[in-house]
């Protein structure tokens, strides 16, 4: 019901929206919750477990009941709190967890079966038979219990991530936050004031208090106007600070486009990472309820929410209201309601010694023992003064006291302290370094107290930064003490609800204690209390008070569960903004990329790079046909492939040779200028880190090549070795991977192709390198080979890469050769027994791959000592071997090797397969793998078994080098 003359909504801007398919009207400035109240919609959802009809409980982000699905053109967002969702034209919302409809929900049968569905029911009941869990029980339970549904499609909405930096982050723009912001702003500090609501002001928007003798909002408006005029203040509304992290970093979620009709490119939400030198937490306090029988009926609300709905939105959920609570804060709500013409039938104060309240029927020592009205509150049963009576009412406002919002102070493992005076947990000082807590979040509840604390917190924060804040005059405001006598649950037989979001009752908590789950952490997990989207904001303290009572301990002793980020739900889509699909990682493209794609090459990912898999020709129907042709082309004429992805590190300095001797297992300092050597690099633990060639370009100038995958890793390793062990050496290195486009030319006609491209014969020995000029461009030529054929690699500055690639391709094709891709490259190297990271996968040693002789005996190197540890060498090691099937069978990488006749159990695995391919040269599938004592077993037959892919084949163990074992073709 709408109340004339009340609220901060814009009555000149009516808005229509739909809820469960029905059209309603509201105003700009409404939340979905306030608009539903205005339209007298009482039931807004069904409860999680029992499917009980539920109404709106709160007016804030802590709402446990009013969770709805927002259905947009491209998005379906479940579990949206109707109390947070602002109304906009065309908003469509749907209630959740009901079937077939909100008014008639068949699963409400669960509510009748409630005696059987208490805490721990699932654990006890669905134990047997065990195999039914996955197929039957879990799907059934998931269907019956739960919240909103997902669309099943990718969330293609626009999200954003951003960083912000400030001197002082103020969290919450209520009286304490506004005063802190004003103090800091006038001092010239760089201030961010973040508030989760659409409008700053906090409780000042909801309560009709006065500041400086005028309505509190007048003061707030004045402060906000001043803040807006200052360039050093950023006001971030609709921004919930969700987490406190190390070194003054805070996470925050901003609702950018959720409160308006979708617009192109406008982010729905933005996830902020705010680096703040200091912070003030002024997040206020959350009102809590009191548990009594059927206290979850629609129409039972928090008393403070009634104030918010009346004063902020101009709506009330009924013409006749009763208020029930244990503290003084109810009175202001009552006065507000009465002034707006709402009948306040009674205030039920549970305190026998409650202060009087003239003009209102006040019952002292009164408790509500039951609420009635399944689809909407009709009446309550009251016990007072030794008698019980009925009160007819559509709405009951409850206040069980206030819980300071200590959550953020606990995110770095701080524990709040129990205050008997406030009957609440309050933060401990210094729980988050650099963060002070002010106002209601710190247990200071009067307006004056909040204003003073805000100013002081800002002053102290700035003082720590060496910024002097001048005195800001404190405005006059009420400074009433906070009177409360704890009341957590009204004793009674029926179900009294603690956690409305997860359907946990007082009995469930008592049962947990009775069954031995007496620790608060165990009780939480046993009953699921506090595990719903509201994370127990409405129920934690009451639940542990009930637990304390059930176990005979005090509340302080019982303790509280851990508050972790996020404070309020955060869309994963916001945290992962930009990271969906191809946004997940950078893409690295070769200069030859377009030329390869033009030829129809499918691209394969190698690290972040995209490399051509193969180059299909007309008439080829499978990749194997193309691969076989490319392999034979390289073996018989000439092939060209782009090898620019290999890591290239330019190393210079008088100590460079010494440095290389130290990082490579073999010796480099003796290499003549103009020559290339293959090197093996070990990790400190003695396993192989990487392999590659290193060329000596000049006396003090080297070019190291790494594998594609380990380029960054090797760079990091070199940096570590340099900084940690030889920082004073005259050696410097820098990546030049991106500076050079490099192409391999391999095959019996490789020399002819290079001669044609250079205009003269290369005249380079095997493992030689030389500067050359290719078509007017200064280039580098290396005679190295990864294919087993005579091979060259020609490198030009990257800008010329595409041109040279096209040029070499054309020349190769006129010679009967052409391009080859990754598939052929892989087969060529397997035929030659060359390793890749499939073999040097992190668990293999130089001994394992047959390169132990490359660990020089004449010098020390990184990893040498560790590689000589017992167990790192010897016949028990799995050693690299070649494998050839006895039949024409396919071999698979990942298969395990067994001795013939051995039982196929894990313990009998004698090795495994790392690389496979079909060799058109040898007309056989080939594999490289590791076999226990493998080098001594050449010629033996082993059984290769891959149970995942159904391969079981006998293989001959061979030397890993299948093709040209003497390397005559290389050196031709």
């Amino acid at each position: 019901m709408r109340i004339d003359g009340k609220g901060r909504i814009d009555r000149t801007r009516p808005v229509t929206f739909r809820f469960d398919g029905r059209a309603y009207a509201g105003y700009k400035g409404d939340t979905l919750a306030s608009a539903l109240i205005a339209n007298d919609v009482r039931v807004v959802g069904r409860s999680f477990k029992y499917h009980r009809p539920r109404g709106i409980l709160t007016a804030g982000s802590e709402e446990p009941n009013a969770l709805v699905e927002i259905v947009g053109p491209a998005n379906q967002t479940p579990n949206t709190r109707a109390t947070v969702q602002e109304l906009f034209e065309g908003l469509a919302a749907r209630s959740q967890n009901r079937w077939p409809s909100l008014g008639f929900d068949l699963l409400e049968i669960n509510d009748l079966a409630a005696p059987f569905l208490s805490a721990g029911f699932y654990y006890k009941t669905f134990m047997w038979p065990r195999r039914f869990w996955e197929g039957l029980y879990e799907p059934l339970i998931r269907r019956a219990a739960g919240l909103g549904s997902l669309s099943g499609r990718h969330d293609e909405g626009v999200y954003e991530k951003a960083w912000a930096h400030c001197d002082l982050l103020i969290i919450g723009a209520g009286p304490a936050g506004l005063m802190a912001a004003l103090t800091a702003a006038r001092a010239g500090a760089d201030v961010i004031l973040a508030d989760e609501s659409s409008e700053p002001g906090g409780r000042l928007l909801s309560d009709e208090g006065e500041i400086d003798g005028a309505p509190a909002m007048d003061w707030a408006a004045k402060v906000l106007a001043e803040l807006a005029s200052l360039p050093n203040v950023r006001l971030m509304t609709r921004t919930t600070v969700t987490g406190a992290y190390d070194d003054g970093t805070y996470g925050a979620l901003e609702r950018v486009g959720l409160h308006r009709s979708p617009r192109p490119n406008l982010p729905r939400e933005c996830f902020w990472r705010i680096a703040a030198r200091r912070a003030v937490l002024a997040a206020g306090a959350l009102e809590r309820s009191v548990a009594f029988e059927d206290n979850d009926r629609p129409g039972v609300m928090l008393a403070s929410a009634l104030s918010s709905y009346l004063n902020r939105y101009g709506v009330v959920p009924g013409r006749r209201v009763v208020l029930f609570g244990n503290n003084d804060s109810l009175r202001a709500t009552a006065r507000s309601l009465m002034a707006a013409g709402v009948e306040v039938a009674a205030i039920l104060d549970s305190r026998e010694d409650a202060p009087d309240e003239p003009g209102i029927a006040l019952h002292k020592g009164a408790q509500v023992i039951r609420a009635r009205g399944r689809m909407g509150l009709r009446e309550i049963m009251v016990r007072a003064g030794g008698r019980e009576f009925r009160l007819e009412t559509e709405c009951l406002g409850v206040s069980g006291g206030w819980n300071p919002s200590v959550h953020l102070t606990c995110h770095l493992n701080g524990r709040p302290r129990w205050s008997d005076a406030l009957a609440a947990f309050v933060p401990v000082e210094g729980a988050v370094p650099g963060m002070l807590v002010a106002g209601a979040a710190n247990g200071t509840f009067s307006t004056h107290g909040c204003l003073a604390a805000g100013a002081e917190a800002a002053r102290a924060s700035l003082a720590a930064l060496g910024i002097a804040a001048g005195a800001v005059e404190l405005p006059q405001a009420e400074d009433a003490p906070y009177g409360i006598a704890p009341l957590w649950a009204v004793p009674g037989k029926g179900r009294a609800w603690l956690d409305l979001a997860n359907d946990v009752t007082v009995k469930d908590v008592a049962l947990a204690a009775q069954e031995g789950f007496a620790s608060v952490e165990h009780m939480k997990r046993y009953t699921t209390q506090g595990m719903a989207p509201d994370q127990g904001k409405n129920s934690n303290v009451a639940a542990l008070a009930v637990l304390a009572d059930a176990t005979g301990r005090g509340i302080a002793e019982t303790g509280i569960t851990t508050f972790r980020p996020p404070y309020a739900p955060v869309s994963i889509a916001a945290m992962g903004a930009g990271g969906r699909g191809m946004g997940f990682a950078p893409q690295r493209f070769l200069t030859s990329d377009q030329a390869s794609r033009d030829r129809g090459a499918p691209m394969v990912e190698a690290g972040l790079w995209y490399r051509p898999g193969y180059f299909p020709k007309a008439g080829e129907t499978t990749w194997r046909e193309a691969c076989d042709r490319e392999v034979m082309m390289v073996r018989s004429s000439v092939g060209v492939t782009d090898v620019s992805t290999l890591g290239k590190i330019d190393i210079q300095g008088p100590d460079a040779g010494r440095f290389l001797d130290f990082v490579y297992s073999n010796t480099f300092s003796t290499l003549p200028v103009g020559r290339v050597r293959y090197g093996l690099m070990l990790r400190e633990d003695g396993h192989v880190l990487d392999d590659g060639t290193c060329a000596r370009l000049g006396q003090d100038h080297w070019l190291m090549t790494t594998t594609t995958a380990a380029a960054g890793l090797v760079m990091r390793h070199l940096d570590f070795v340099h900084q940690a062990f030889c920082a004073g050496w005259q050696v410097r290195f820098v990546s030049v991977t991106e500076s050079w486009a490099q192409f391999a030319v391999a095959g019996p006609l490789a020399r002819d192709l290079v001669t044609s491209a250079l205009g003269h014969a290369p005249d380079l020995p095997f493992m030689g390198c030389t500067p050359v000029v290719v078509q007017g461009v200064a280039a580098r030529l290396f005679r190295i080979s990864f294919s087993g054929e005579e091979g060259y690699e020609l490198a030009v500055p990257t800008r010329y890469g595409e041109a040279l690639f096209r040029d070499l391709t054309a020349r190769a094709e006129t010679m009967g050769g052409g391009l080859y891709g990754m598939e052929a490259l892989n087969v060529l190297r397997i035929e030659k027994g060359f390793i890749t990271h499939a073999e040097i996968h992190g668990r293999t040693t130089a001994f394992d791959i047959g390169m132990d002789k490359m660990v020089s005996a004449k010098k020390d190197c990184i990893g040498k000592a560790a590689a000589a540890r017992p167990g790192m060498v010897g016949p028990a090691r799995e050693q690299m071997v070649g494998l050839m099937p006895l039949t024409g069978s396919v071999l698979t990488a990942g298969a395990h090797l067994f001795a013939q006749g051995a039982e196929l159990v894990r313990e009998n695995s004698a090795g495994y397969v790392t690389s496979v391919g079909y060799s058109p040269t040898l007309h056989s599938h080939l594999a490289l793998g590791f076999l226990k004592n493998g080098r001594a077993r050449h010629g033996e037959t082993v059984r290769l078994v891959d149970r995942l892919r159904g391969v079981d084949v006998l293989c001959t163990v061979t030397d890993p080098v299948f093709h040209d074992p003497k390397g005559e073709k290389l050196r031709a």
Partner: protein
């Protein structure tokens, strides 16, 4: 005279959103200069400008020396003279240079770079990250920035910056 055709990293045309423009700059001549231990000052003298401290750029006569990491700076805009007491490596082909300038440039970069650039001034440069991309960010002053990232990642860099630009522009349009 080279017969091979040189290509830019992207060959992209400038784009403008909400008064802020992203463009691909010509490949600058760029050389990494890594002085031998203790030689930074001497190298600076030889180049005619101070060897930069971390996060700084020094300039002289159209040349710039941009801090690029531990014991390293990039000389931009001129060839390195012979005989420097430093390791000297040509970097001209390894990078793509993008320029971002205009009223929203700082807001756009706040979506991409974990640095507070609101008070950034000419004379500063940062080795940082553009989302997951390595980045050397040179502050040009008056709302302008030069972004250097690995050439092979140019397309991703362009995409990430333009995405941030259109989102910032969509936000700006709300206020108007």
């Amino acid at each position: 005279m080279p017969e091979l055709i040189a290509k830019p990293a992207l060959g992209a045309f400038p784009v403008t959103h909400a008064g802020t423009t992203l463009a691909e700059a010509d490949l600058p001549q760029m050389t990494s200069i890594a002085p031998w231990p203790g030689q930074a000052e001497a190298v600076g003298r030889a180049l005619g400008m101070a060897f930069p401290l971390p996060n700084a750029v020094t300039e002289a006569e159209g040349k710039r020396l941009v801090w690029a990491g531990r014991d390293m700076a990039f000389l931009i805009g001129a060839a390195a003279p012979a005989g420097l007491a430093a390791a000297v490596t040509d970097q001209s082909d390894g990078w793509v240079a993008l320029t971002l300038s205009g009223a929203q440039a700082v807001d756009v970069l706040a979506r991409l770079v974990p640095l507070d650039l609101r008070a950034a001034q000419r004379g500063q440069a940062f080795r940082t990250a553009l989302n997951h991309l390595p980045l050397i960010l040179i502050v040009e002053g008056e709302g302008g920035f030069t972004l250097l990232t690995f050439r092979s990642m140019a397309r991703t860099a362009w995409h990430e910056v333009e995405e941030a630009m259109v989102k910032v522009a969509a936000r700006a349009a709300l206020v108007l």
